[in-house]
Subunit: 343 residues, 2 copies
């Protein structure tokens, strides 16, 4: 049985999820939906994805000469699961439409947590989300934080996390966002929302985050200070992280990769589509253990990190797979994700 | 009695110290020295500063048509104190020359700590440095860290500091440095040297720092997590910081200043020379107290923050003033520095 998936929104996240769904043998991509007839709509057609539009947008697409397969309602009527990849906050407005069609829903982290029955990260709470009517895949930064926290927590127990997020200012395609030459407190009032968002999945965690936005489009960088339940060695930590899914470890001294620029260049050299790096990247050089404190730097590719979790979330709501390890294996194999050392 | 000050190096730091020395009624600027006949040398002449050059550079300056007052040796022979503002590491090479002339020496943070008898910050260790033959004013980031740490320590006791430094990639005048669009781990191996540099002044402190470099030229931003000896209220902290010299407090919600761009714009609007902000800027909105943890954001103007400390260091080696509060008052009045709320 293949679950029929529709994707509403075909921007940065939606187009990547569409590609990823197409690669799964237990899913069928019914179609994608978009409101504006721009170059991304053209790309959807070129990729052969059935393109649906809200009924009141049919004319606009016709004028633009873009052939559509039907209306959003028609797409939803054929689907078992809809992935909402509309801009942040817009998903909540579509929710009643999705409910009318009785489809299961996967929302993105741009929505408020209460949009869905649960917030989701495969490594943290897959079992608890099985069969839910709606899930929310947390945002890119939160996904990056959860991957490392849950991997470390399973092995050693995490008591508290203090993290600083150095955010990319805009995505590569955006040309109306800043900053162009400053460091913006994002926000000035502490803590930033990222820690609170982590708590939508791990409500017991003592976590505080701060964030700044800087003039780059490539990736985010996090600095983490993790207080562990017990003292461990650096080797213990590396041993766990080497075997954690969706995490790769880069050695700056061994590879010359010291920045997000070099990481992206390596993704391009590897032939990654759109230079995507859905894996969380940790720097081995930065991994420092002092007493029961663990310090490290990690990088998050904001455009693609949530894609594997979206695939798993589809499996969770559709109850296609009950074992998180198995959905991870399946998703990561289909998407070509790596783990262990980056080399 | 006015102490005779010579400045070797007339780049980003040297030219600002020359201006600041000129404004002190207990100091006389003997001259400045430079090795290259560039626009900064022209600016020195235009400002009326006697310009000295190493003997082997006389010809180069003559060819460039820049009138010089004499050789570096001649300048040093007239001085009581030399401020070395040559590029990082070059000061150590000049040290024997300075010693030949028997002048007291003030080095910058780009030199290794052992270049001088002590590393220096007025708020932390002024009394201990009185009459030394040589001092090293620590770098911009270290100065920013020391100002806040020593202010807080005097009031509440500081046990430990964990800080992340988001560094400007280059100074405004530089056109051969990056990054242009990435976040660089600086360095990947933790901790960064800044914490170690703080310990050259506060050897007892448990401090670890991490740093990234980002594509901006305006200022650095620090995120600090300070563990205090006791629990305090946010009001207690604000009460202390409002009255700390060389620290100003910005309210993002009250002033709309949320980034380094807006801070610099405000400095320009205030008519500050070169838009300098030698004050450490704290964001009130970010000041957060949780148990005995204090969290906050601060900004450091890399080009000017060390200038007041250089003036004080001259007074310390020359024993012009034994009371740190009095040199601070004198320096800050002459330079027009503010404290308290930015408004």
């Amino acid at each position: 049985m293949r679950v029929r998936v529709a994707i509403n929104g075909f921007g940065t996240i939606g187009k990547r999820i569409a590609d990823a769904v197409s690669l799964q043998d237990d899913m069928e991509l019914i179609g994608v939906s978009k409101t504006r007839p721009n170059y991304e709509a053209l790309a959807a057609v070129r990729r052969g994805y059935p393109l649906y539009v809200p009924a009141d947008r049919l004319e606009v697409f016709e004028e633009a000469g873009i052939r559509v397969a039907g209306t959003l309602d028609e797409m939803l009527s054929k689907a078992d699961v809809v992935v909402d990849a509309t801009p942040g906050g817009v998903g909540a407005k579509y929710k009643p439409v999705y409910e009318e069609h009785g489809v299961k829903m996967v929302f993105q982290g741009g929505e408020k947590a209460h949009v869905a029955e649960a917030s989701f990260n495969t490594l943290c709470n897959y079992e608890e989300t099985l069969g839910k009517q709606s899930l929310r895949v947390v945002s890119c930064n939160t996904t990056g934080l959860l991957r490392i926290i849950c991997s470390i927590h399973k092995a050693f127990g995490v008591k508290a996390v203090r993290a600083v997020i150095v955010r990319r200012g805009a995505d590569p395609k955006e040309n109306k966002r800043g900053p162009i030459n400053s460091i913006v407190l994002n926000p000035p009032r502490l803590p930033s929302h990222h820690g609170e968002d982590v708590k939508t999945v791990l409500p017991w965690l003592d976590i505080m985050t701060a964030a700044v936005a800087v003039p780059t489009t490539l990736m985010h960088v996090h600095f983490l200070n993790v207080k562990l339940e017990k003292r461990v060695s650096r080797e213990d930590v590396l041993g766990v992280l080497e075997n954690s899914p969706r995490i790769v470890i880069a050695s700056a001294s061994g590879t010359g990769i010291q920045s997000t620029a070099e990481l992206v260049e390596y993704a391009r050299d590897l032939g990654r589509a759109r230079y995507d790096l859905p894996e969380l990247v940790l720097w081995e050089d930065s991994i420092t253990v002092a007493g029961n404190e663990l310090l490290l730097f990690q990088a998050v590719h904001q455009e693609s990190i949530v894609v594997p979790e979206n695939i798993d979330a589809i499996r969770a709501v559709a109850k296609l797979e009950t074992d998180p390890a198995k959905t991870i294996e399946k998703t990561d194999k289909a998407l070509g994700l790596r783990r262990g050392w980056l080399s």
